[in-house]
Amino acid sequence: MYLDVSARLPAEEIRRRLPSMHHQFKELADVDITAEPMEVGPTCHYVMGGVEVDPDTAASKVPGLYAAGEVAGGMHGSNRLGGNSLSDLLVFGRRAGLHAALYSAALAEHPLLDEEQISAAAAEALTPFEGSGAEGPVENPYTLHQELQQSMNDLVGIIRREGEMEEALKRLAELRERAERAVVEGHRQFNPGWHLALDLRNMLLVSECVARAALERTESRGGHTREDHPAMDHDWRRVNLVCSLAEKPAPDAQIGVHHQANPPIRADLLALFGLDELKKYLTEAELAAPTVPGPRSAGAADADGADTDSAAAGGAAADGAATNTQTGADQ
């Protein structure tokens, strides 16, 4: 696929508005984007789901743990508009820092760490050096990482299908079993192979969250596109899919998914939209509610109701990864 800006903008304008892109294509691909098309392809770019946080304090469900930015869920809905992650960081990064500090300062006494838990965590972290002792050949963490990337790209990528996501879950289970046999060599100072072996466990869990939630969500919305469910389903709008560690983890399922309802949209926010716009997203029942603006008041912003309800949506909607076009020069 090719993207051509040269036919749309004068060369000087392209250099001024897209200096990095212009420079990269010239340096890395010998392509002058002011004169010729650039080869582009889709890639994983941003994770829309994330840690479930309270929108006002950025507090997670773990006491004392706060999350903001790409790691936190719920901010951008099912697709992030370009440029919005910086404003996300400015607003919610401040809230997270502020409330983490307030929480810490308000503690009557600081919780004591359990020495046994620390020792267990340290031992677990060092396992890849000696190997876990699990039966089977030792595994290279880099190979596992590449296979994980390939599986998620092929099976839970841009266009999703039920059968492929089920296949992905099987492969994830196999990779998890192999990852237990990951072995690394060398020292403990800045050892990327060791770090990757430790990260694999989390990557596998996040991948399972993405795959399970994407399989569960039988509609298409934002960056989540189901070939077998190509339309947006209004009933799904109010549903966040929350993933957590399964109470009884099975070899093929470490993650449980449950449906969590989003709170209703505040009246003052509803009033910002015209009825025609709301009809695209709300169910018939929601549209019948008295807080929904009628056709005449459509678009009339009224901030009087601002104090009615401070609860906004902040669930961990693990709908999957956003996709964005990237350039052919990015291998």
């Binding site: 001024r16 897209l18 200096p19 990095s20 892109m21 420079h23 990269q24 294509f25 340096e27 890395l28 691909a29 770019h45 370009g82 440029g83 992650s85 910086l86 290279n140 963490p141 880099y142 190979t143 590449q146 690394v184 060599e185 060398g186 020292h187 100072q189 800045f190 050892n191 990327p192 192979g193 060791w194 964005n324 076009t325 990237q326 350039t327 020069a329 990015d330 291998q331």
Partner: protein, 173 residues
């Protein structure tokens, strides 16, 4: 089109080290950082190298390639002399920590000396807007940082690299 390239990579830590020889596969269009990653994945899993954006923005993958300070992510293999070994060593400007990773805390100390941007008091929203001229001025610093001169201008480099860059050259963030 693939071929095997000879690489000489400095391995060691603050107490000393030396060059080690490797033979690594190279494919068309690849940059030096791609080869270092292949080396890690196939031969030297503990090879320490710092990298982030892979787009010539963050400066993390600075190293000396055949003795000259470069960004590994922006150095195409096709620009290096064919048939000769490629030597990669850590930046001499900074103290070595491990392999190609150096201690760049000097940059962060300098960055903290750069005063934070504070808009004038008492302005209403929309009264203080960034002009194209402001964008152009910061672009000059980026060029400087991305080039091989980064080692000689650590303050500039750190001031512009505190923001995490992503690989998308477009409207990433």
């Amino acid at each position: 089109m693939s071929y095997q390239a000879d690489f000489r990579v400095w391995r060691g830590d603050s107490s000393g080290g030396g060059l080690e020889d490797y033979s690594v596969e190279v494919n068309e269009g690849e940059v030096v950082l791609d080869i270092v990653h292949r080396l890690q994945a196939t031969q030297t899993p503990d090879l320490a190298v710092r990298w982030n954006c892979k787009a010539g923005k963050c400066g993390s993958c600075s190293a000396e390639i055949n003795g000259r300070p470069r960004l590994m992510c922006m150095t195409r293999m096709s620009t290096l002399p064919p048939g000769e070994p490629v030597t990669i060593t850590p930046m001499r400007t900074f103290p070595v920590q491990r392999d190609l990773v150096t201690d760049v805390s000097f940059n962060y100390a300098k960055a903290r000396e750069v005063p934070a941007f504070v808009p004038p008091q008492g302005l209403a929203p929309g009264e203080y807007r960034m002009q194209q001229a402001d964008v152009n001025r910061s672009q000059e610093f980026r060029k400087c940082k991305s080039s091989a001169s980064s080692a000689r201008t650590p303050a500039t480099r750190s001031a512009t690299t505190r923001r995490t860059s992503r690989r998308s050259p477009g409207r990433g963030s």
